[in-house]
Symmetry: C2
Subunit: 608 residues, 2 copies
């Protein structure tokens, strides 16, 4: 029943050979992998204005040069990542690039911060989307944590169904959002050109002197604006999910996404500046622009609706990238092996489910108040940005392929800018991001310890040709018996067919019972040795365990193996299970984990 | 660590031979087994007055004849139960008496209602005690459910430590309560005799005409007063916990308890009548009497404090009686066998823990509002009262021992009165007790189904001398292998020592890998057959299960046994467990429960 419910939720299992059919073309990939990056447009401009608003409305003109800076950074990132895609066509992104060129630790830092970042992406995006929904329907506000959790579960199930199918569902909102913003920007510009909208009074001209402006503040505003760039790295991690030729398709998707992001971000920032919009607590900048442009008509709700939708779906980027990165780390033995297994629908189910569970925990723990997680999340992105660019620089210096100077320059510029942004983050927002400094070393340590365990296990399991194992000389079988029943008869017959060294062991709580049983046994199985153990403390396990130790000790001297036979009742109805002291389960677990004996379980099926 | 925590809570395990030392003398038994009955004094009189108050204060004089009726009933019950103790010295009380003399169903009804009743006793008494505490310290009122749960856990732990030790702790409050009430009654009577207190204005003389009084109302008041008798049966169920001669000691304890109960109940009822006390919502009758007698001095708080304490400890009666009754039912195969096992400290731990858990659930489910459970609880007592008296009547009629007429008369009077009370309950309080009519048949049905399962299992396990089992002809061993490692080497060596019919089974996900493995195997173990199975859906279990079916089918035709060897990694540190796909656990459980094969588990211990 459980399994048919699973079928209903995630669909029939897929054959391994169906893997190719699940791969992505450019349009679907754009939808899946860019919702995170594109959705940043919904808050990037606003983040800049919020910082500038601390000075005065006159300072708002600075949003234009800051946006130019962000666009410049975006271009550098896109160029650098394009080179990474071609150099590392099997994906892995920042983790692989840093590990191969800088070293293990750099790779693990990049991988660790990205993993955590994807969890943050899911939590932050879904809560932001939920806020948009509850703002529209205030009655739902009390249930926002519940709604967010349901949304995460919904996205998790979509992803468990498999990537192409989720792409089909997720493509619409992304493209609708892009169309909605293009309409908004187009109509806005048209109205400005036709003079339908005159510049607002708050609209200071570019270059106007601003009192109290400091470099620190401008840098802070720039760092805030960089939150619009989160999600740019997703494509480089996910190359293996593209249709062949994967690297070429991935690079094209990257350029397409970069261009869309640049256009939308510039458009929104320009309109915000021209309209003289100031950030408000209860209305987003995009909403204000849309209202100014359309009034509160259906086009306004179209923009707002698709924005809310894409924020929720931005979470999906995390679902595409997290399992692949976890796979890469697990294949290199830095994470548990279970992350390498494809599920019924060919996605890495364990990665998908882990991500879902982790973000649900984060949402519940923060009671849906994830806004203060945003800076943390931006830092988590810029660390791997910087590391991967640095890795590429080292690679070019080492390999010096044709045209390496141009390539080096692109990555050098990228590395310098992302490092600068990272420094700005730590300098201007230390109070919000100090957590990273403690947490990242811990995660790297965890990776290392997992790795050293797997290495040591591999060494222990390896067969060295020169130390051949001695063949087993013989077998002793111990059969704990509780009475003279068919189950015992079964066990004894089985034991007899394997060896003639059998001990039937009976644990008694009182002496009379002991004698009576010995006599009965003598009549029933005169050729099987019966050992009776007296238990003072009414425990079966302790005397049995002592006896096994004695036998085991003697047996191992002669290279004999000791096997303990334990019956297992299989009841016809599951409620019958509580009627049988499942002491056999306990004894079995105890013997397997604490003793050196082999435990053989004989099922005995009740007929009713 | 868990086990040393258990030691700290409940003490070192006791040897079975220490059982005698745990048995009770009269004074300790009185404390353990009578707190339920004696604590009823705290609310018995009040229950009568609450009903009478619905007419007028003039009606209060009826409390005197009603109390006489209750005392008469008490005397009849004590006499009847004294006879039960001597006739059934091994305990079991109402359950055994009804079962042996009336029939199985009567016994199960008595047993079932008593079991439920003990749970109600614990829940009701502890919440009443908690109310007394929170009335004294109103700040705690918001946490009353929490406090009640903590108290139940505390009493449960005391009982797990063993009966004598809990008795030492519990003896003081019971005796302090008795002393407190004797002082109260003594001082009260002394002041009345010396004229220190004059009869109140509300004090109508006995026989004064009362307007609007009906028989129905008087019966209702009488039934309410009978709640003072709950707990009287406890001693007859617990005879085996007494020191030898157990029946004689139990009978003496019973008489002692009956006398104390009679004295306290008459005293309180008389003082209430003489002082003209009316029941109040926010102050108990006992509290009013104490205030009238002493004023609010330390003696008043002594009475109130010991009352609160005994109410909480009345729960302990349930803990003495429930496990013994559950033991009796389990020995007769009406309840799961686990209730027959003595724990480390010689108490029936499973019964004690079940009672604790059930009453905690009841307390939480009713949010600590258990007052409306009181009538249910009284009915639950009077059903077994009636059944056991009836059983005794049948016994005397059947056996006719010396002096049987007198004995019969005692039980006949008891049976008639308790039956009458029961009928009064159902007639006057149907709205509160209808639940019993639905619930009891269900519980009896459950007993019967458990019984029939055990009977059928016993039949299935019995060895009939004429159908001797065919000896096992030989063994086939299946070894699932995942690679060429020391673990596999271990398994193969073990299998070789048992039989030469070995199948190594390898499940591959792709064809190339399959071929490579076959070649490697051929070189390594040329004399062990390797079967490779191809899995389209990346599942190991399904192809393996199919293969086992094929082998099993052929083997069973020749009376061969099939054994599957599964390795189990034992990691050095417990966190390492998540690093190894515990798929072997899953496979093992699947094979044991779904297949007819024997599953042998070979532990493989990692050295680091």
């Amino acid at each position: 029943m459980l399994s048919s419910f699973k079928r209903f939720l995630i669909g029939r299992p897929l054959k391994s050979t169906e893997l190719g059919e699940q791969k992505l073309n450019i349009l679907k990939a754009l939808a899946i992998l860019s919702s995170d990056a594109l959705s940043s447009v919904a808050y990037g401009t606003e983040q800049i204005l919020i910082v500038l608003a601390t000075i005065s409305v006159v300072a708002f003109w600075y949003s234009i040069p800051i946006a130019v800076g962000v666009l410049f950074l975006l271009a550098a990132l896109i160029l650098s990542y394009r080179q990474i895609i071609y150099s590392y066509p099997h994906g892995g992104g920042a983790y692989v690039v840093s590990k191969e060129n800088i070293g293990e630790k750099a790779g693990l830092i990049a991988g660790g911060s990205l993993l955590v970042d994807y969890i943050l992406t899911v939590a932050v995006s879904v809560t932001a989307g939920t806020d948009a929904i509850t703002s529209a329907f205030p009655a739902l506000h009390a249930h926002s944590v519940f709604i967010a959790v349901v949304l995460v579960i919904f996205i998790t199930i979509l992803n468990l169904r498999g990537i192409t199918e989720s792409a089909s569902i997720l493509a619409y909102p992304v493209y609708l959002f892009v169309i909605a913003l293009f309409i908004l920007i187009g109509v806005g510009l048209f109205k400005i050109v036709t003079g339908d909208i005159s510049p607002s009074a708050q609209h200071a001209s570019i270059g106007a002197p601003v009192q109290g402006i400091t470099l620190f503040l401008l840098l802070r505003a720039f760092a805030s604006g960089c939150s619009a760039l989160t999600g740019v790295e997703a494509i480089s991690n996910a190359i293996p999910t593209f249709k062949d030729p994967a690297p070429k398709n991935a690079a094209r998707t990257l350029i397409l996404m970069g261009s869309l992001l640049a256009l939308l971000f510039s458009g929104i920032t320009f309109l915000a500046y021209y309209y003289g919009i100031a950030p408000k607590a209860d209305e987003t900048v995009v909403s204000q622009i849309a209202e100014e442009t359309f009034g509160r008509n259906y086009l306004y709700f179209f923009v707002q609706g698709t924005t809310a939708l894409i924020l929720v779906l931005a979470a999906n980027t995390g679902y595409s990238a997290f399992p692949l990165l976890a796979f890469a780390l697990a294949k290199d033995k830095y994470m548990p092996r279970m992350f390498t297994i494809r599920g019924d629908r060919l996605g890495y189910s364990n990665g998908i489910v882990s991500l879902g569970v982790a973000s649900i925990i984060l949402i519940i723990a923060s009671k849906g108040q994830t806004e203060h997680l945003i800076p943390l999340y931006a830092v988590g992105v810029f660390i791997p940005f910087t590391l991967s660019q640095t890795g590429m620089i080292i690679k070019w210096l080492r390999e010096k392929p044709a045209g390496w100077v141009a390539k080096l320059t692109a990555n050098l510029v990228g590395a310098l800018i992302t490092l600068t942004v990272l420094i700005i983050f730590f300098v201007t927002k230390l109070g919000q991001v100090w957590f990273v400094i403690i947490f990242l070393p811990l995660i790297v340590l965890m990776f290392k310890r997992i790795n050293s365990h797997y290495e040591s296990v591999g060494e222990q399991l390896r067969i060295h040709p020169d130390d051949e194992a001695m063949p087993v000389q013989g077998n002793v079988i111990i059969v704990p018996v509780a009475g003279i029943t068919k189950v015992v008869e079964n066990s004894i017959n089985y034991a007899k067919s394997l060896t003639d060294q059998i001990f039937a062991v009976y644990v008694s709580f009182d002496r009379e019972d002991e004698k009576r049983f010995e006599e009965k046994w003598e009549k029933w199985q005169p050729d099987v040795r019966l050992v009776t153990l007296h238990s003072h403390y009414r425990s079966i396990l302790h005397p049995l365990s002592k006896f096994i130790d004695t036998v085991e000790h003697k047996a191992s001297d002669n290279n004999y193996r000791v096997t303990v036979l334990i019956p297992q009742f299989i009841t016809k109805k599951s409620w019958h299970n509580i009627l049988h002291n499942q002491s056999s389960l306990l004894i079995r677990a105890y013997l397997i984990f604490k003793k050196k004996v082999i435990v053989a379980t004989l099922p005995y099926r009740f007929k009713k």
